[in-house]
Amino acid sequence: MIYREAGQFKTTYSSDQAIFPIVQDKWLAGALVVAAFLVPPLVADEYWLQAVLIPFLIYALAAIGLNLLTGYAGQLSLGTGGFMAVGAYAAFKLTTAFPALNILVVIVLAGVIAALVGVVFGIPSLRIKGFYLAVATLAAQFFLVWLFNKVPWFVNYAASGTITAPPRTVLGVMVTGPQSTAGARYVVALGIVALFALTAKNLVRGRIGRSWMAIRDRDIAAEIIGVRPLRTKLLAFAISSFYCGVAGAEFVFLYLGSAETLAFDITLSFLVLFMIIIGGLGSILGSFLGAAFIVLVPIFLTNAPHMVGLALPVALQKQIELMVFGALIIFFLIVEPHGLARLWQIGKEKLRLWPFPH
């Protein structure tokens, strides 16, 4: 950045290994998180919270989950939508069976159930790799969605096959159901994302993350130096599915309010995969940037003609939106194949030397 670490001496290992070794970075990030908690609920209207920020946070969490598996552990997965569905349906079953259980506990338990399912579908990863594994996880996607559509037990025998988030409170504040305010739901979603993003960041910096990256970069070499592929890969599947499951539960409870299996179809899996490809594989920041890109750009493109007073027919506007969006994706992939996170990194390095580059 435009500031440097000059004069900031590290006297302990822990300060040397901090997420933000530079004091200014630490303060900036802290201020950003505090602002994220305080500003939008006070300033933004319901449209911004409900239609823009909440889905952004939830997609970001799902993208972190997939990034742990695909970006760090190198296991290509197309089952994200399926694992999110597991989280959503598990949360629904849990909260309707035990209404007294705190909804945050329910969401975490739903993540645990998704993790178990993820482990089961991760078993093939021990034998197959790359695109073949993608096909195996595709089976998870289709099987899980089919299962929830087929077995009425999962929707408590509702004739329509939809699950609806019942009203639940946290510390006396309504956070799910139609009576909850968008602000409350936003704060809960942000709290969960902040907590899990921090956890993920620390995971990938530690022993587990290093073993994932070793497997990703060359699994035989990793095995020789003592990384156990079975445990490492299954752990990646478990933790990734846990994140996706939590995101799926949030998807229904904090965002949509009610959902059918169609909400978790294959397009969702692709969407999250695009997020991490565009945002940056193997980067927590990239997951946020990718989610922001995929969620915000279409909404921006939809609203842009209105804002400049251009009244286009909606169909034409949608086609333009799809074309521009597609072109932007290609543009960013050509300009920086390593994603937006890498662009950010390059920008930071440039700013370090600014205004006197070599």
């Binding site: 933004a44 319901e46 329509s160 096959g161 009610s258 059918e260 909606v314």
Partner: protein, 438 residues
């Protein structure tokens, strides 16, 4: 300002625009958000509806100068029949003092039902949505008249019985229900299952997954079952694929009945000659022989304001858009009759819907005599159990081939009340006492 700075300023203004937007509606205008889908796999069904809607609203504005001097204004928002985009549209448009929302998707309707009482925006899900919401005691903000999926399924069974020579003749007959694997498609299943038990016909339920472009296996299965009748709840591109597959598998088309979302021109034209004889249920007539169409041509199309091509007027789904827009307009009129000739609030529009009474006389005045059936909405009954017509494709156009067929209210209504208790309970609603309503 340099060019770069002005671009940046513009981008910033665009980004922050929605934060400060939310312009209040003009005092002599009533705003109606239109959730449409003119693109994507459901566009063949979505386009004619959206056109019918806009044409009727234009007619009201052009011919009468609005309703009692209050102009109708609307804004379309593209949902692609996708729930997430639909919610985004709703959130964006409801802030402009939306009088009523027509979601045009059962999935989106399910999303909006819990929001309606909170946002004070009534929902008119005309002939779709949640059948349980027909019980107005539990769902005061949701309307699905003139009739719902369960009533339709029972009326179609009644029609089949008429063709077979009586309800007792249904015994042992094989009926297949091919449905879109979504809340919408599944709606008719419980009613069909009840009726199958009651009249001892053999019912097979066959699901087609979204979006329904691949149905080879389904129709092979139908061929194997060799049913006496086929009923279909399809939507969008699924319909034309189904009609094509059925025709190519040699299924008797005059024993293949689509529900009212599965019988439009766009569903049968791609199958060509093969589609001849295909039937569909409807709650309004097809064609352009009604006075309302002539008025629309005169006041809208001749002024160059038409939304569609003149030739595509009269398609069943175009006509459905007209009927839906007319219901909205009449509900606004009913609300104004009580609350005065000014733009009504959401609560007032809700009252208007609940006291809507479209008599044959009023339909005649609107130029819709014989076009659709009279309907009366009450506090208890937001559905009205309206009768249906059966229309048949003759290769060029749809012809009505039946009288008005009444649904089996005595079977459907108790089920609706049962389901309303369940669905209302999920949202922690309580039943209101209709005798206490003004």
């Amino acid at each position: 300002m340099t060019f770069r700075a002005s671009v940046a300023a513009l981008a910033l203004a665009l980004a922050l625009g929605p934060l400060v937007a939310g312009v209040a509606a003009q005092s002599r205008e009533v705003f109606i958000p239109l959730l449409v889908y003119r693109t994507g796999p459901y566009a063949p069904s979505g386009i004619p509806i959206a056109n019918g809607f806009v044409d009727y609203f234009n007619l009201i504005n052009e011919r009468d100068g609005g309703i009692n001097g209050v102009k109708l204004v609307w804004e379309e928002c593209e949902t692609q029949y996708d729930t997430k985009q639909g919610v985004e549209c709703y959130e964006r448009l409801k802030g402009k003092a939306a009088a009523v929302v027509n979601p045009y998707s059962t999935g989106i309707t399910y999303q909006l039902i819990p929001k309606a009482p909170v946002d004070q925006v009534p929902i008119l899900s005309m002939g779709y949505g949640m059948s349980a919401s027909s019980d107005g005691r539990w769902f005061p903000w949701v309307f699905n008249f003139p009739t719902n999926y369960w009533s339709q399924a029972s009326a179609v069974v009644r029609y089949i019985a008429q063709q077979e020579g009586g309800l007792d003749k249904l015994k042992g007959k094989k009926i297949v229900h091919v449905f879109h694997n979504s809340p919408y498609g599944k709606e008719a299943n419980p009613t069909l299952e009840t009726l199958a038990k009651q009249y001892a016909f053999e019912l097979t339920l066959l699901a087609v997954d979204h979006p329904g472009q691949e149905q080879g296996a389904t129709w092979l299965q139908v061929r194997r079952i060799n049913p006496d009748w086929i009923f279909m709840s399809g939507w969008g591109v699924m319909n034309q694929v189904a009609v094509k597959e059925a025709a190519s598998k040699g299924i008797k088309m005059d024993r293949f009945i689509g529900n009212w979302w599965s019988a439009n021109d766009s569903d049968v034209v791609p199958a060509g000659e093969g589609a001849k004889g295909y039937k569909g249920s409807t709650f309004h007539a097809p064609g352009t022989t009604f006075k309302v169409h002539q008025e629309i041509v005169k006041h809208v199309y001749d002024k160059g304001k038409g939304a569609a091509k003149k030739e595509s007027m009269g398609e069943p789904l175009y006509n459905r858009g007209i009927v839906n827009a007319a219901f909205v307009a009449e509900a606004l009129r009913t609300a104004m009759a009580k609350y005065g000739n000014k733009p009504p609030t959401g609560e007032q529009v809700r009252w208007g819907f609940e006291h809507l009474n479209l008599t044959d006389k009023r339909l005649d005045e609107m130029g819709m005599k014989g076009f659709t059936h009279a309907v009366k909405v009450t506090c208890e009954d937001h559905e009205g159990s309206g009768p249906i017509l059966v229309q048949q494709w003759d290769g060029k156009k749809w012809n009505v081939v039946s009288d008005w067929i009444a649904p089996m209210r005595e079977i459907v209504r108790p089920k609706i009340e049962e389901a309303a208790v369940q669905e209302g309970g999920k949202l922690q609603y309580t039943m209101r006492d209709c005798s206490k309503e003004k």
